[in-house]
Amino acid sequence: MTNYKYIGKSAARVDGIAKISGAARFVDDLDFGPNLLFAAIVESSVAHAIIEKIDASEAEKMVGVVKVVTGKDFPYRFGLYMHDRYILAQDRVRFVGEQVAAVIARDPKTAKKAAKLVDVKYKELSPILNIEEALKEKSVLIHPELKDYTHVPWFFPKANTNVAHLRKVRKGDTNKAFQEADFVFEDTYTVPRYAHCAIEVHGAIGLFDHSGRLTVWTASQSPHTQRHLFAEALAPLGLSHKDVRVITPYVGGGFGGKAGVSMEILGAALATAVKGNPVKILWSRAQEFYNTYQRQGLTAKIKLSCKKDGTITAIQNNLFWDAGAYVEYGANVVNAAGLSATGPYRIPNIEINSYCIYTNLPPGGPYRGFGYSEFLFGLESQINEAAKKIKMDPVEFRKKNAIRSGDKLSYGASMNQSGLAEAIEKAAEAIEWGKDEKSNDPQKAIGKGFSLFWKAPAMPPNASSTAFLKFNEDASLNILVSGMEIGQGYQTVMAQIAAEVLTVPPEKIRIENPDTDRNPYEWQTVASHVTWGCGNAVKRAAEDAREQIFDLIERALDKDRDSLFLKDEMVMSKKEPGFKLPLKNFVIAGIGKDDGTFRGGPIVGRGMFMPEFASALSDPETSQGGKPNVHYTVGASAIKIEIDKETGKIKIPKVVLAVDVGKALNPDLIKGQVTGGLLQGIATVLYEDMRFDEKGKLLNPNFADYKIPTAMDIPDEIVSILVEVPQPDGPFGARGVGEHTMIPAAPIIANAVEDALGIRIKSMPITAEKIVLELKKQGLFEQTKEEYIDNK
């Protein structure tokens, strides 16, 4: 094993001091002077309607109001993967809270007051609030123009329906397999919508100056993608990419919610309406809930067959996604989930249909896990049920069917090498699987649950990353990249990678947040791909700098190039033990010759990475043929819970997550991802969910009723186990891991509840209330109660 100096060490965060000292600036912390204008949004009060008239005359009369704009001012469609979205609603509104008009004023108070004065007349259409309604033969169409929308070639919209995309995967012969199987299990599982709840809300400040330059400051995971979408959407105004600049300071949490473009388009567009003045738009917590991306709801109908010996023979998985009013990003969640809905299992016969369905609810979109958490709930619940019914230990059953390196994936490509088997072993061991545990308290039941998980980055095949690396006079470094530090520790890991190659310690490396004018291209900080993709780019940039250094030493000092190496910020030579040239002596100044001339000059490295082997093209009917996923990160997770049988309340004494990270570049930061991700996942199972009324209005757009966990709601113990089977094309063998830590939360808990009480909850969340009501329904409650009294 290679001995690394910086890789694999828990280096201190390079953004640490800035954050703990409060020096870190977030978008709302930036100052723009007295000229700053503020925008407030006029929101749709109904879920589905034709806009008949907008009367802004009262608002316009108010002192301090600068301008009121409506959809007419921006008749453009835009979107990431499909152009189905608008800057401001055009002739129709499609969800409660949708932006219909914007009031720009001198101060936020005036803007808000004036927004209330804008009168919008609607002709209501019947709202489609669930998938059943949306799929009905004669259902109202939410996007009648669907067939005209531009979209990526791997989407298949169904014209004149509410199905925006259908991903089909076919392999083998499921019908035959079901007929021949010893056991067939069929069930339906549902998952509601969820909110990211980054503590920082979305915000954007746009400035369109008189020279025609548009600068937008945003809280974003995707500066370059935002620039691209802004430039594309506003191209009719004569803007080209070079005119658009996106600056992204520190981000107060993303979790997918700040990927792509949601409300930020308003910052860009409104600025063009008030040329020369910066204009700010900051979402309220309520808007954060109902008008950014939400995690989509899912109904999964799963049919699974296996042989007596426990071999899974076939799966049919119909995934119906409630994707909301606009699916420009969300449709790719549907796509990614469809491709991987077998979970990390080797299954010869596969039939998957993943439906992206328009509804009159807020737009769905990316959320940490990108669809995998949702389908895994049903799949791993079903796997557990199957194991139990055929009287096989659920962990054994999983081991037997777990996917192995080289196996053919559902779409025909090969599975990458992975440490799944090791992860299963270790997770089972850590939770003491098989050891029967009983509570001393007769009121309490103990249960254990297990689940495998996997996820691949969902990204276009040409998603790429770039890095510039600049040496300074003292051999410290500035690295320019456009990945976002959203808390995961990305900047630190990039510094470690460069440090390892160049032997400059991470403390001497500074990485600033991106400015698309200065920092080179990065697709987006999503999909757990930046450690891998951008890590490769940074490594290449560092190697590029190193090669330039060696070239120079060879050229200026006539050393044997092949024997040169870097150590402790110096160039050394294997041939000449006495040769030690500190980097700081020449990385800017160059190397002086006897005649007073110099060779070299500032060293600037450049690195780029694009997965040139990936392709999203495949047979639309079967998905066979492409290589849409670059690799999977896999693992296993286990939990021990204690349920109070009377109250349904769940306590978590211990939860374990074993994940194959390829190579742990910074173990402490990964541990942070495990702890934070698991808690976020656990909360989606135990407390969170979005509730809508019968008119499509969100009932809990606040932390008072959308309960995210507090410091009192944590497991007693979280064990993170890092397995390291290297990813050959990853930087030092690393793979991404940011999302994976929350993916298995739902099935481990569902399976543990079943283990403890014998009840199978098939809808999330699994609240205390749901457990009690289920126990009552099954008549189990009274029984346990009597038992309880008897026991006394």
Partner: protein
Amino acid sequence: MSILQDFDYFKPTTIEFAIDLISNNKNATILAGGTDLIVNLKEGTATPEIVVDIKSLKDLKKIEFKDNCLIIGALVTFTDLLESVVIKEKFPLVWEVSKTVASVGIRNRATMVGNICSAVPCLDSGPLLCVYEADVNVRSSKGKRKIPIKDWFLGNKKTALKHGELVTHISIPFPNQKTGGCYVRLGRYCGEDLAQVNVALLAFANNAYRIAFGAVAPTPLRANKIESFLNGKKINDHLIEQAKELIPDEISPITDIRATKEYRMHMAKVMFERGIKTAVERLNGDGLEYGESLV
């Protein structure tokens, strides 16, 4: 976000002036901790013309125990209650309730008087004050008035407070014999949450019991039937089972976003059972320490 509504702000230094202000203005609101009021102002659900900040009325900031009666002034915060020795020693149930209110940053501002003035069905102080048979003391230009807690809550967010009246303090008579108390509160998780059901219980040495529920009706309410059923009896499992059967006659929970009526009803029984047992155990000098959650 600043408040959209314009209002005048006063911070009187005498009670008289405060009362003057609220009696001479139709649309005046008292501001103490503000943890409720500011939210309402921001949401536009409160639209006063004047806001009277009473935090300079130092007399209202006292916790006092005299003549066997506890006085909790209108400016006493939940943190003050938690830090008071008298409360911890003589009224541990008040302490236990205070500890469940929101979180530190709120408890440092929010007052118990403010809590009962908000009169939301899920308020924490309601059941507590019911079992202590506390009085709400108000003052107006016409003089002073004592309102028994049972007459205080008139409905969801409605109290017996009249125009021009200011609540000066709550008074809680010290029980004339030994008691054990218990407060059980159901939230969706351990962290800050609005109670979905709450129940306060006091068990007296002479086998008398006082029980009050919250969040299961528009106002907090005493469980009179259960109290008379249990009166004079020593608690045992069988008795509790019988008493639980009476709960549906006492409370009328509803289904809302926080819980269904079915679960509320179920939990009211469980909480009653656990609460009464603990109250009795505490009366007898053992049982869980005050402040430990039972659900």
